[in-house]
Amino acid sequence: MAYQKKHCWSILLRLYHWAFALSIIALCITGFYIHEPWTNTLREGSASWPMAWMRFAHFIAGYVFTAAVIARIFLYIFGNKQERIMDHLPVTPRNIKNIFSTLLLYSYIKEGHDPDRLGHNLLAGMTYVITIIAAVFQLISGFYLLFPELAIWEGYGLAIFGSQQWARYIHHLLMWWFMIFALIHIYLVVWNDVQEPEGLVSSIFTGKKFTH
């Protein structure tokens, strides 16, 4: 059987993916430090600012993260067929059918992907949408913590979270969603790559998938 090389992910989607993934790793590490600074010292006047630097790194990564989320929302509307939101939500018979076939696939009952889909399967697609929604709340709480005196962030922050402390609490809990998501995500990507050699892992670098 001959393999066919197909263009699947645009360059913007791939850039967004890695900006998103790498910024989240940085945000989790620096976020943990901000929550519970694991260094301490009795030295004064050492001209080192571990907490200030960790916060600075957190905010820089936060801006990268925000840019990635904005790019993703743009692609949900203006991206190619695989990238648009309609391909990720259970709104068409084709998509609903794919939920069940993916469940059967993941429970080792059935083999092979649905041949009519080039992009995400529905379970993955819906999880990504939930993750982007979580990311929007994460960045609103983050900017509210960063700029509480600015009217726009004060407005959104108070309306959604009610107080700085509650914003921080939700911000912290959402971090766990991203970490658990990343673990399952990387496993399933590799698992799918093993099950069906379509070049899934490399597709997020090259944008190309192989079908037959």
Partner: protein, 360 residues
């Protein structure tokens, strides 16, 4: 009656104390000293505004802080520039006499008086959890609030419900602005608030004829415009990574940052580090205890445990109360285990079926 109260409480306020108080208020408001004479003029020449002070569900700590601190000038000053017609704790009258004074004053000054509310208002079971002179707090507020010119909710109970509103809030206690919607309301939160902030608000009102600018929670910006953390004297230790690990340890004795023992300064809006308390120039962090966030909404629920950074996770029904990170680690570990099992099943199936990869 007000004058009687005033004189018995105010035997010593001299011009020096008066000017000092006005200067403090101007500083707290962030105004230049050139407005001090204006303030003094407003405070002395304008007709003293009538103030009616209602107590509901509370501990009276707010009034206590105002009256019995080591800053007599401040309390005297407030009592000097206002005409306090009704205040259950300090008034001489009692019983029917007191009730009469209240109603006379409300009628006489309708539309002109400032209403200060101290304490939360219980709303459950038609408000029977707080009754004064046979009426519920709810009824009293409904009767008096519409006649006030403006309302000052004083203390965290009157602003956000306070301790009795802590989960599960059995009496349905709420702050004034949940019940009164058609009056200018200013929230001076804190458990207790700094009296300087009340003085500043009143002087602002007298001098400029309007209430000061407020934030999204109706708190005056001059006092609640910045977080404690952004004006804290221990902030350098925070940025440079020097933290108290435990009360009484080496780091604590050296006066380092209290972040790791749960200081809520980073989440709390108040001017404590600037205005300070009791004329001795102290505030909680300066004496070695973290901020507990008492000026913030629902602080009894959101700021506890006081010595941890964030609240525990409660899962209703399951009876689970756990540290967020402990729970997160468990969920992550369970996810990892599930992944392991899933992968093992896959490998097992391949072994059994003896499927090779060369079946393309």
């Amino acid at each position: 009656m007000a004058d009687t109260v005033n004189k018995t409480l105010d035997p010593r306020l001299n011009r020096r104390g008066f000017l000092k108080g006005c200067t403090m208020a101007a500083a707290a408001l962030g105004l230049s000293e050139s407005v001090v004479p204006k303030m003094v003029e407003a405070a002395t020449s304008a007709e003293r505004p009538t103030v009616i002070w209602l107590h509901f569900q509370e501990c009276t700590g707010c009034s206590e802080t105002l009256l019995r601190g080591t800053h007599p000038d401040l309390a005297r000053l407030i009592l000097d520039i206002i005409s306090l017609d009704y205040h259950e704790t300090v008034m001489a009258a009692a019983g029917h006499q007191a009730e009469e004074a209240l109603h006379d004053s409300v009628e006489k000054n309708a539309g002109k008086f400032i209403l200060v509310v101290e304490g939360g208002i219980p709303t459950a079971e038609n408000g029977i959890h707080c009754m004064i002179a046979g009426k519920t707090a709810l009824e009293i507020l409904e009767e008096i609030a519409p006649k006030a010119a403006a309302i000052i909710a004083y203390g965290t109970c009157a602003t956000f419900g306070g301790v009795q509103a802590a989960s599960p809030n059995p009496t349905g206690s709420v702050g004034v602005d949940k019940l009164v919607h058609d009056k200018p309301i200013i929230n001076i939160s804190g458990c207790p608030p700094n009296p300087v902030n009340l003085l500043g608000t009143i002087l602002h009102f007298l001098t400029f004829n309007r209430l000061p600018a407020v934030d999204g929670l109706k708190r005056p910006k001059f006092a609640y415009g910045r977080r404690i953390h952004d004006h804290c004297e221990r902030r350098a230790h925070f940025d440079e990574g020097r933290f108290v690990e435990q009360f009484g340890d080496e780091f604590h004795k050296l006066g380092y940052c209290l972040y790791k023992v749960g200081c809520k300064g980073p989440e709390t809006f108040a001017n404590c580090p600037v205005a300070r308390f009791n004329e001795a120039g102290v505030w909680p962090v300066s004496v070695g205890h973290g901020c507990i966030g008492c000026t913030e909404p629902d602080f009894w629920d959101t700021m506890t445990p006081f010595y941890d950074r964030i609240p525990n996770v409660k899962i209703p029904g399951a009876g689970i109360i756990a540290d967020a990170d402990e729970l997160g680690t468990k969920v992550l570990a369970a996810t990892g285990a599930a992944i392991g099992i899933h992968a093992a099943v896959g490998v097992g199936k391949r072994l059994i079926k003896g499927k090779s990869d060369s079946d393309e």
